[in-house]
Symmetry: C2
Subunit: 296 residues, 2 copies
């Protein structure tokens, strides 16, 4: 496994791989502090590619002024061990100066898809994501890029960017990886106190209950599902709901309160963001209601 | 010479060229209605590349609602003859539907550099340019892309986009091509009446006189150069000045009125936009004042 820190070195290493017939190239961009969710992306990349590139870069552009850029957890040594174990070929760890040698005046932005959910709670966040991912795609020029569905909005936004800009890469969404008790893996889980950690289970529990109620035909409208979500989450005294929404997927269009889920064509997403103390957790479930809902 | 109209066909043709060792690939994006200025770009591309790709696409995204998108001149047959004559290998002529199968939600924008000159007169214009050129670069993946310096601001903006987004292409700026009497070639010159055509010479004449006055140490400050420009242009009764500005190049930063040009480090641009009837013409001159100005 090679560790490179400069764009030039990375381009040389990749050119060598391409010339040597080691395509396709699979790319897993991360912010480090890797967990089993990242490991699952790396394994999927290994199945689909002959060269796996992983980047570790905590991108200042996608953090708001009052967000956790400075305190975002970092552990390069442990990350490199995990990458080695998972068969990564090249790890790219650029500094902020390497990625932004001068303040960027160029922004890649996706409209509409970014106005709701995390886009509403974190203004500017998705412009930071699309801009840095665009840069990374141009540097790595991968055939496939792997992203976890925990950040489902990110997946939807990046797919739209790739399609709108005719980028020559396929976004491969990978399933959410959970702890045994249901908590979705996140590098930010490390910030939770034991009490918060235990109460944070309301995210996955509310999603499971919502899904089950839809399957059983008990929750039938958008409003009924939203009510169920908020009532389950509110049972946890430490939980502060940022959003609990039901939208179409991947276009992330709103649905009126009285809409019957069985009338919606295609996929929907039930998406949550909940704060525990200073830690903000997200989780979601994407499915086709017409396929799962009981017809009463 | 091959003419292709679909992105898929173009990608296949280019893959074939790349596999066959016909790199580097040179790309000349145009809006068609080709003239000797375009021909000079194609010749430069031919000198530097083994495969020359030219696109013809009048991009609706870069025209304002009251601009000349509908009346922009088009003549595909004549364009193909010129391309053939200049040794183009592949001409890409996509429809609007091919380039925008759905309304684009993704925008590539460059800030600051786009606030002045044509960016101020044509709001949204440069977002349309950077977005479509980004798409075309992703489709063609050229080693070099050739642009005329008549659109000097466009060159500056695209260079910044390529550098900020780590795009793997080199922008090659090419000199302005002029008629024998000095008028800069433009597809829009065809709109000028004989009287307007004759008066339009004030653009190049005012640039020549400004340059000469700087060389001779007669015009020494930004204000003096601007005065000279407006006085020459105003001698033409049909001319309506949109802008006549002196800025740093390529960062396009403003200069105070009293600044001595000999105090400016690096290049400056003298840039003009002047309307004759409904036709808006631009012209400019880029140079290093420290190198040309007389030290008095």
């Amino acid at each position: 496994m090679r560790v490179v820190r400069s764009i030039e070195q990375l381009r040389e290493a990749l050119e060598y791989m391409r010339q040597g017939g080691h395509a396709p190239i699979g790319f897993v961009p991360t912010m480090g502090y890797l967990h089993e969710g990242h490991a699952s992306l790396l394994r999927r990349a290994g199945e689909m590619s002959n060269t796996v590139v992983m980047s570790i870069f905590v991108n200042p552009l996608q953090f708001g002024p009052n967000e956790d850029y400075d305190s975002y957890p970092r552990d390069e040594e442990r990350d490199l061990e995990l990458a080695e174990r998972e068969g990564v070929d090249i790890v790219f760890i650029p500094s902020v100066e390497e990625m932004y040698p001068q303040p960027t005046r160029t922004t890649v932005s996706v409209s509409e898809l970014t106005t709701r959910l995390c886009g509403a709670s974190r203004p500017g966040h998705f412009n930071g994501v699309t801009t840095v991912v665009n840069k990374l795609f141009n540097i790595v020029q991968p055939h496939y890029a792997f992203f976890g569905l925990k950040d489902a909005q990110q997946v939807a936004v990046l797919r739209r960017m790739v399609s709108d800009l005719n980028m020559n890469v396929e976004i491969v969404p990978c399933p959410i990886v959970r702890e045994g008790d249901g908590l979705a893996l996140s590098s930010r889980n490390v910030f939770l106190s034991p009490e918060e950690r235990s109460q944070a289970l309301v995210l996955s529990r509310s999603l499971r209950e919502a899904r089950q109620s839809i399957e059983e035909g008990k929750a039938r409208t958008v409003a009924e599902v939203r009510e169920l979500l908020t009532s389950v989450i509110s049972s946890s005294p430490l939980a502060v709901i940022d959003y609990a929404e039901i939208l179409t997927f991947p276009n992330l269009e709103g649905l009126e309160n009285e809409v019957l889920l069985t009338d919606v064509d295609g996929e929907i997403i039930i998406a949550l963001a909940v704060k525990f103390g200073r830690t903000r957790l997200i989780d979601n479930n994407v499915f086709i209601p017409k396929e799962v809902a009981a017809v009463v």
